[in-house]
Symmetry: C2
Subunit: 339 residues, 2 copies
Amino acid sequence: MKRVTIGEIAERAGVSIGAVSYALNGRPGVSEETRRRILEIADRLGWRPSLAARSLSASRAHSVGLILARPADTLGVEPFFMRFISGLERELSGRRVGLLLQVVGDHAAAVEAIRRWWAERRVDGLVVTDLYAQDARLPVIEELGVPAVLAGRPRADSGLGAVWADDTAAVDSSVDYLVALGHRRIARVSGLPALDHTRVRVAAFRAAVLRHGLGEPRVVETDYTAEEGARATRALLSRPDRPTAILYDNDVMAVAALNVAQEMGIAVPAELSLLAGDDSQLCVLVRPALTALSWDIQAYGLHTAQVLLELIDGLPPRSHQERTPVLTVRGSTGAAPAG
Amino acid sequence: MKRVTIGEIAERAGVSIGAVSYALNGRPGVSEETRRRILEIADRLGWRPSLAARSLSASRAHSVGLILARPADTLGVEPFFMRFISGLERELSGRRVGLLLQVVGDHAAAVEAIRRWWAERRVDGLVVTDLYAQDARLPVIEELGVPAVLAGRPRADSGLGAVWADDTAAVDSSVDYLVALGHRRIARVSGLPALDHTRVRVAAFRAAVLRHGLGEPRVVETDYTAEEGARATRALLSRPDRPTAILYDNDVMAVAALNVAQEMGIAVPAELSLLAGDDSQLCVLVRPALTALSWDIQAYGLHTAQVLLELIDGLPPRSHQERTPVLTVRGSTGAAPAG
DNA sequence: GAAACTTACTTAACTGCTTAAGCCCAGAAG
DNA sequence: CTTCTGGGCTTAAGCAGTTAAGTAAGTTTC
């Protein structure tokens, strides 16, 4: 099971290894005839370049890293990541770039992993998800000079790429839609307040509510889990002036809310409209099916990989904006109850 | 942002790079005092070994590969993989082994990826999931001599490791439980018939039904998707002698079945008991919550990684059996309807 | 007090590939 | 006929480590 090296090809072709290298890499320096002969031999022997040798001389790892900094159980239910990853893959595998994955519990561990990967030259760049407003990873990435792309809003002066969707517009359209249905008491169950996009969405929600003159905006913060989603929903629905519509920051919490409504004897959508901030099969699997903000997560991953690879190739950092998520209306939203 | 190499350490310590190498690897050949000095310098400079250089001379990639051969949308909903991956990670990251991930659509692409990874020496071993009865990947793995561990039943004569759970016992206990509740007409909605574990479970189901003298076992095959799960359920429930209990091969289909029952006006669990073959948050998110076969998927991943790393270290292939999945009874199962 | 052995290093070969620099020879230009 | 040019190759250095073999001291042995 010994590997084929270019040395062996050189020997068989009766040329030097340098010539073989030029031939295999499509560079000038060998005649067409010799090139053909070398390629033929390489093919016959089933030669593939040794990644380690290439990495060593080119100082390129031919891999990019994705560090998911979340507790394992949250990752499980969120269909987001697998779709995002398969989007990344679609671009990476065609370019022969590997995807290194690490799952860690918190940002301290993520920073540690970044430092290690970079020092070992295990990756050429990073995809950063779940961006915090104050994010411990960014200064480290900047300090090390790691090419990285944010799956989220661009940061000024960061020198990083970014791929993002206009959450503000998406939240706006959700609120507009609910108002058009006659709702006046609209609340929001938001995710982790430390997260960048949570803040953006909450701000957008507040602005939209105020714009429509619906009084003081009501927002309850959670950690994205079903449990907290249920708790927040219970709290909102227990108030005398309970909302007639609730926006959720993801789909899991919206599903949990469906159960809370049922348990409290509140009909959806007759008495209460629910709107999920993420769309996935989950929304279609429950009854009533959930109205949700949907967007193409695979494309998100794909574009993220593209921007990252450009950055690694030395091109200037680029910000790519995805299509704004659109409302997919299903059974969980309806006209506001009379009175 | 130039990297620190052992050459730099050698220079500062006033010794040769060979001495530095011995010192850093804890091998004899340097005095304790010199070693301490070298380690101190290395630490101060923040030295980490270059993976590429180590890989080249040690011919070890310090990475293992996981190739998921599934359509991207199926991956999204299945909470299985993220939990499995985080289990793998728990073992791998401690041992400084990277996890390379590739998502491909079918086995032909998986085989291609295996060949490439191995030829490039990108990975030291593989984790193989979703094993088919006739699996195109196995002959290739054997031909190449890739250390690999099956996330599934061991195969005789394969020389591969295996980590698996006793599906037969799990199915047995499910059927026993339903029979104890008075059910006599029990059907099964199974997953992809090509999959190894699907066959094992179907066989176990047939045997259990016959053992209890419940007549000819009824099994409907699907592709694991919610759509087919719903279709299969509709077909089963439309028959005059419709089953009073149905076992599903995963949780997604069981959830879809819940909706079908609702749409057909069949009460769960009063008229129909549903039992999911996988457990996840999904089962708890719906009403009634689904009774399911649950097991520790993170541990599954962890043990899989352990067996693989042993194999890579040259130890003989090992088969590890996980705890048999146990029935977590929730609201979707109950006594069989009278008459 | 010479031979034998340790200790603590250094030297250099090796991993497989890339690439700048050098060399040889044929054909063109002067 | 010499000089120049350039195509087609070879040579060798370099990437960052590992490791077998060599060496120069000091120590032990009889």
